[in-house]
Symmetry: C2
Subunit: 130 residues, 2 copies
DNA sequence: CTGTTTGTTCTATAAGTTATAGAACAAACA
DNA sequence: TGTTTGTTCTATAACTTATAGAACAAACAG
């Protein structure tokens, strides 16, 4: 897995880390059981504080995407979407999609972009072939 | 247009305002030329500071969604998506879609949700019937 | 057993963001 | 003329972000 952090970005570092790990999971680059680097190791790699990495990992744990323990470190868990999740996700999706439509992107083009993004996930994470 | 603000939310007030106005534009509730309330009026309605409303309006202007002038107030502009926009939008869409997939929502279900959201916009904003 | 690594927890601080506040100005308008 | 409006400025309290140092307990290698 390749992570990169933009220190000049307006997006918080812990958020960048979280987002990239989430995308790696969706991609299939990180599968169920995949270990993540130790917080201090990852922090050293990027020259950032280990508390910042800790915050990203903590977020991912709260979202149920990884599990943390002293012996195995951080490992990716296979999650099944639970009821409260899709509702608030849909609200955020609505805001994002509205932004594209409001700015003049035709709805069918928006959907095409979404489809191609989702297809790029499926490419490495085949749904029907276990 | 019905706006509502949740003061207890972790989402900044100016962001809530911006998001709801963007959705109203996508919905077609706010069409090209529609006037928005004066900053002080809107602030008074919600019991918030007018600088907060100002910030939301300023964001929308930077995004090219509204125009502000002293005589006509804030009015919605019809925008055509320009090159730099879809690229950064796609990056954000990727993050959001990845989150759903990583959390176990099947890709086809995610796409169905996107489609139904986009359809709800189209309902009031017919593309082919002017 | 010893030393190291690891996640975890605590306090602390500097810089930036958010929301509020007051004041003032110029353009538009009744 | 007086009012409304967008715009701009300074200021402040509360919160967030990122960094930092310290310490602890569980797991593990040698």
């Amino acid at each position: 897995m390749i992570l990169n952090v933009d220190l000049a970005s307006e997006v918080p570092i812990y958020q960048q880390l979280r987002d990239q790990i989430v995308e790696a999971i969706a991609d299939g680059v990180l599968a169920e059981g995949s270990p993540l680097p130790a917080t201090r190791t990852l922090a050293a790699d990027f020259g950032i504080n280990f508390h910042t990495v800790n915050k990203a990992y903590d977020l991912l744990r709260q979202e149920g995407l990884i599990r943390l323990n002293r012996k195995s470190g951080a490992v990716v868990t296979q999650t099944v979407a639970d009821p409260p999740f899709p509702a608030e996700w849909t609200a955020r999706a609505r805001t994002l999609l509205a932004e594209a439509v409001a700015r003049g992107l035709p709805a069918d083009e928006v959907l095409t972009i979404c489809r191609s993004i989702l297809d790029s996930f499926d490419a490495r994470k085949p749904e029907g072939t276990p």
